[in-house]
Amino acid sequence: MEASRSDEPNQNPNIDRTSNPNPLSPIISSAHVWPTIDGPLGLTEEASVDYARRFYKFGFALLPWLWAVNCFYFWPVLRHSRAFPQIRNYVVRSAIGFSVFTALLLSWALTFSIGGEQLFGPVWDKLVMYNVADRLGLSGLA
């Protein structure tokens, strides 16, 4: 489906509308809220439900960043809490998933980096990234 954009004649008296015989009645009011952050350049509501659901499901494959992107993309859904109930369902669950995963990951990473050798012992040296890279020969590029 391709929708064309056109100006409403009464709002742009200066522009010469000689060529467009397509009078659009403003079906949607100008206060229409778009579900995506891109506004009129983004998705329609029906497609949004599909997208939100797919992103939510894919995020379970250890992809919290996808959940975060989901929340970012459908930010208007979170802001206007009464519109788009179906999308909101998935987006809120994505947000919760992202926060939980980030909390877990952050706690592990901070424990690792702050605890250091005192907490972990010799295992720390085996797990830290620059040693792993050295062992596998990945860091000798430049």
Partner: protein, 393 residues
């Protein structure tokens, strides 16, 4: 008369916004590459990285002991091999597009984006971690890298995705590939840039050029070319509008009454998105001979909503030029940056005049190379003299 006045007014209104929309990502890409070069190449006088081999050094690998003539000859051979490889790859792309293997191309594009993000991105992150001794553990690193790459593939592969994130990932891909290209030997880099500028000119403007064939095929079939292209956010002229704007890559030339709005409301003619698909860039990772090619685009065109499109190959080679300039001194970086931006401005002006697909490399690269050598040979001496005599610093 009235119309022309209105047309002039509406172009001026939105020209700044559209220009900024394309200049910002180019600048960000160049800045990031310069930053990476400055951070990671702490020893500029070391011999050219013998550990980096790719198809661009297949014919000749430079070493410091060769005479300038030998280096120049070697650089020519390297560039010849590289441009030949790219031409072949582009013709292959044209053939596949002609045979309508679009699914295969899209899958290939997704796969190459994944390889670039995971492989090259991982390498650069490891280099950064190594440089700063950041105490991150491998589990966290792997999870973050995996997330980053997979979402990047989604951003590039899916047609409707957040504009900002897609643009961000395209810039990141450009930065990663450009950084690896700056590791080529010095003479090879400069000769290669000039050779690619000439190739771009030929491939887009000659009637037998592969990019022109691709563009014409895509227009005649009204289809998308599956390739990596940066599209600036279309400037929405009318904020009262509440209809959905369909962003399509290709658009036939249609009578004005049914097409999208562009700058001129009266005659919406050629809102053709013309892109040139080119540069299949094979990169061979050090000793591992895995070849990954990407379908980048080179060239500049107009999107179906009037937004400017710039191929990712252009991002990459602009950044390579500036990155290589950064390896000498920051003064050359400033000179080359200004030259490239000026060249891009000229190209955009030509685009608005000619309204067809244009190669974005030649003007900028040639200006950039000229300014690099001028700055290196003449400006530096001048500035050093001024500074040491406290005239200007």
């Amino acid at each position: 008369m009235d119309r022309t006045e209105q047309r002039a007014r509406s172009i001026l209104d939105t020209l700044g916004e559209e220009l900024i929309g394309i200049l910002t990502p180019v600048s960000i890409c160049m800045f990031t590459v310069v930053l990476l070069v400055c951070l990671l190449n702490s020893d500029p006088s070391s011999p050219s990285s013998a550990s980096f081999s790719s198809i661009a050094t297949a014919a000749y690998s430079e070493s410091d002991s060769d005479s300038p003539w030998a280096k120049l000859l070697g650089a020519f051979l390297n560039s010849l091999v590289f441009v030949a490889a790219i031409t072949l790859a582009t013709f292959l792309l044209v053939l596949l597009f002609y045979l309508r293997c679009l699914n295969f191309l899209k899958l290939y594009m997704a796969f190459s984006a994944f390889v670039v993000l995971a492989n090259l991105g991982g390498e650069i992150l490891i280099l950064l971690i190594d440089r700063f001794r950041f105490p991150i553990d491998s589990v966290t690193f792997l999870i973050l890298l995996f997330n980053f790459s997979v979402v990047g593939v989604f951003a590039v592969f899916m047609s409707r995705f957040s504009i900002l994130i897609t643009q961000g990932y395209l810039v990141v891909i450009g930065v990663l590939v450009a950084y690896f290209f700056t590791m080529l030997p010095e003479w090879t880099t400069w000769v290669l840039l000039v050779a690619l500028a000439v190739y771009d000119l030929a491939a887009v403007l000659l009637p037998v050029g592969p990019l022109r064939l691709l563009v014409e095929m895509a227009i005649s079939r009204d289809e998308d070319i599956p390739a990596l292209v940066y599209e600036a956010r279309p400037v929405i002229r009318n904020h009262h509008d509440s209809r959905l704007v369909q962003r399509r890559v290709w658009r036939e030339q249609r009578p004005s009454n049914s097409s999208d709005d562009v700058e001129n409301n009266e005659v919406v003619t050629v809102v053709r998105a013309e892109e040139e698909v080119s540069v299949s860039v094979p990169l061979i990772e050090r000793s591992r001979a895995e070849e990954s090619s990407e379908t980048f685009l080179e060239g500049i065109g107009l999107g179906s909503s009037g937004a400017i499109k710039l191929g990712l190959g252009d991002f990459i080679f602009y950044s390579v030029l500036v990155g290589r300039a950064a390896m000498y001194d920051l003064m050359t970086v400033y000179a080359c940056y200004l030259a490239i931006i000026a060249g891009l401005g000229v190209t955009l002006m030509l685009l608005s005049v000619y309204q067809k697909a244009l190669p974005a490399l030649p003007v900028s690269i040639l200006l950039g190379v000229v300014f690099y050598f001028l700055a290196r040979l003449f400006l530096e001496v001048f500035v050093v003299q001024c500074s040491s005599n406290l005239v200007m610093f």
